[in-house]
Symmetry: C2
Subunit: 408 residues, 2 copies
């Protein structure tokens, strides 16, 4: 019987531990596998031989359930990228020696784009040395920017947070009988999926967000001022959803265009939201302007994560174990959507080399001609992903999560 090892990498999401829970459960239940180790802080935990043996702790169903709803990485994370094997073979040799010493049959890496690059490199190396160790990638990213798969674990929960927050911010700003503009800056790096999901807040009384700017459409400052002015004719309190990664037609980030020099004499990069707030204050001085950065809470507010997202993330972890047990390697688990109504997806997989280092953007067909809104055509895609509640338990008034092991 072989053992397995799992690690997590990249930025946090509310669902990355659900995938970890799926992998642990998959290994514990599979007759070919014995123990499941967790490497701390991603691949660097293997390079530094820092492991946890997860086997015994997670025999308890309640621990697995708690892990499933706990935000961020239970095992910690890293931002380490393996060197090209031709330039430096040392880490590869070390990693596979560690695998051998722990009698590892499969390594599961849960992460985003960079982590899939690691899966790609390790599986190629394994093939080159005829290693029997299976290397499987499990996706995660709130940015939803991985190719081939229908959507990524963590995105649905972040989208649910963004849409719910947008509705709550709308209630908050609607109270005063004056003209105002509120800019909400949303994560997603160079992909606009998460910002696009803010339109899920729209309903019979809530027209917010009134304007939506994604990185996929070039941002023009003068057009933006015209857009805001037009919206202010129609609405008292205009809310603008803006991606952190919006750029002008030359590809320059809008955030960078409004550097401020602080009293230390340093140039400070403000975010896109702050940059637009300053612009409006400068050019439309009679209007009350505020910017809100949703910040890390959009990726770690597990108390409002999407049940659909958590369940799918768990399933993808389970599926990864099946793939490895079948002898597959160099694959990333994917989701294939069968239908929107009723919503149905199945787990599938694709060679990780088709996925790593590429970005899936919001298609042009979902963005209006002026580049200041998302079209309703995107809704059938987005809606199913935020359905269902996390079921997080509260103890003494705040959410109950699984303790971070190295802090106990």
């Amino acid at each position: 019987m072989k053992n397995c090892i799992v690690a997590q990498s990249g930025g946090p999401t509310s669902a990355i531990n659900a995938s970890l829970a799926g992998i642990i459960r998959g290994v514990l239940e599979h007759p070919d596998y014995d123990r499941i180790y967790g490497a701390l802080n991603g691949i660097t935990g293997i390079l530094e031989k820092r492991f946890l043996d997860l086997t015994d702790d997670f025999q308890k169903e309640e621990n697995l359930d708690l892990l499933k709803v706990t935000p961020a990485m239970y095992l910690g994370s890293c931002r380490y990228k393996l060197p090209n094997v031709k330039e430096d073979i040392t880490p590869y040799e070390f990693i596979f020696k560690v695998f051998e010493s722990l009698n590892i049959g499969a390594f599961f890496y849960i992460g985003g784009n960079d982590s899939m690059d690691t899966v790609d490199k390790l599986s190629a190396y394994a093939a080159s040395i005829d290693s029997p160790v299976r290397i499987i990638g499990i996706p995660k990213t709130i940015d939803n920017d991985l190719c081939v798969t229908d959507h990524t674990p963590g995105f649905g929960s972040a989208a649910k947070y963004v849409a719910s927050s947008m509705l709550e911010i709308f209630h908050d700003v609607a109270i005063y009988n004056l003209k105002s503009v509120t800019i909400v800056e949303i994560m997603g790096r160079d992909a606009g999926w998460l910002t696009a999901s803010s339109i899920l807040a729209r309903n019979e009384y809530c027209a917010a967000p009134h304007l939506v700017y994604l990185p996929e459409a070039p941002f023009d400052t003068e057009n933006f001022l015209t857009d805001v002015n037009q919206m202010l004719q129609e609405y008292d309190n205009v809310i603008v959803a803006v991606s952190e990664g919006i750029r002008d037609k030359d590809g320059n980030y809008i955030s960078a265009s409004s550097d401020a020099v602080d009293h230390f004499g340093h140039s400070r990069l403000s975010g896109a939201g702050k940059a637009l707030e300053y612009l409006l204050e400068d050019r439309m001085s009679t209007i009350r302007v505020r910017s809100i950065e949703l910040n890390v809470l959009q990726r770690c507010s597990s108390h409002i994560s999407s049940r659909t997202d958590l369940d799918e993330s768990y399933q993808q972890g389970l599926h990864g174990v099946s793939l490895a047990a079948e002898g597959k390697t160099g694959l990333m688990v994917t989701l294939k959507r069968i239908s929107n109504e009723p919503y149905k997806v199945v787990c599938d997989s694709a060679p990780v080399c088709e996925i790593a280092n590429q970005v899936k953007s919001v298609p042009a067909e979902f963005i209006n001609e002026q580049g200041n809104d998302v079209l309703p055509g995107i809704l059938p895609y987005l809606k199913p992903l935020i359905q269902g509640e996390s079921g997080v338990n509260f103890s003494k008034g705040i959410p109950t999560y699984l303790p971070i092991p190295h802090l106990l």
Copy 2:
């Protein structure tokens, strides 16, 4: 039979509509009262004769239940302060003429400090003209800075949000194996109650917030740098909770001390959190620093409001109606705490002139000597206020709230 009128004022909270629901229910059930009108945008709605008749819509229990959990002001708000009656009697005469035309027996004003000033002035004027109209104030403010009452409606929900967010941010920042400082800026104006409530996040594995700075203790930049350095010896990822209103020993806001000049040549006021982020980046350049402004979501995230807060806010609305019906006037409803374990409070009242234009600060006994932490002695006071969940329903993946009437 007389009618009643109600209005809401000041900044939003998650519980201010629960008080409105209590008042509506109180009026509908009281044999002496007939219709209940809502003035839009606070006292300005009376001055501009903009009303809603709430009587029929809220006969339905389900509408009242939905109102109770809906964030911000159902009736809208204002920041209008009545002039001194000796300087300008016009608005007073106008308001009481409106009251007469609507056959008003009582006016309920839900709001913070400024709104209690309005209640004070209107009740004094009513007495001076022998008007039978009763004027009652119902408190609300996430700042918890009103005198006489044990705590204010809206505070418990905001405290629950702050503590829960602190725990989730802790999970988020704990993932990397490096040294970092995260500054979380929390509302509360010149009172530190809300920032203090962030210590409710502490548990067996979460020592965050590691440092806490309230407006009640003078803030010293050099001491702050020493504090952070010391904490970084003990913890990898240090989280600092800081009030928006911290000041130095001369009373200058810390936020103002780091004005930045933007590329328009304007001086920009950054918040306290940003100011400390810049300071740390400047003086401790090897550490990864981030600041998070919890922003308006700490006052409008009704999906995570405190059931205790909602229920008490509702009770205080009901109690206000009883007071008016008994012929009382010029009072604000208060809460009196009977015991912590079991937690028990009763509604009471106090002359609004004892409350208006004063501020209740966090007592020195709850702040440590160095002024960088809150002492556990505050916990028995805070804990009961965040207990219980809102029970907000979700529809299509996002929270269901009562539509804003003028936007339908």
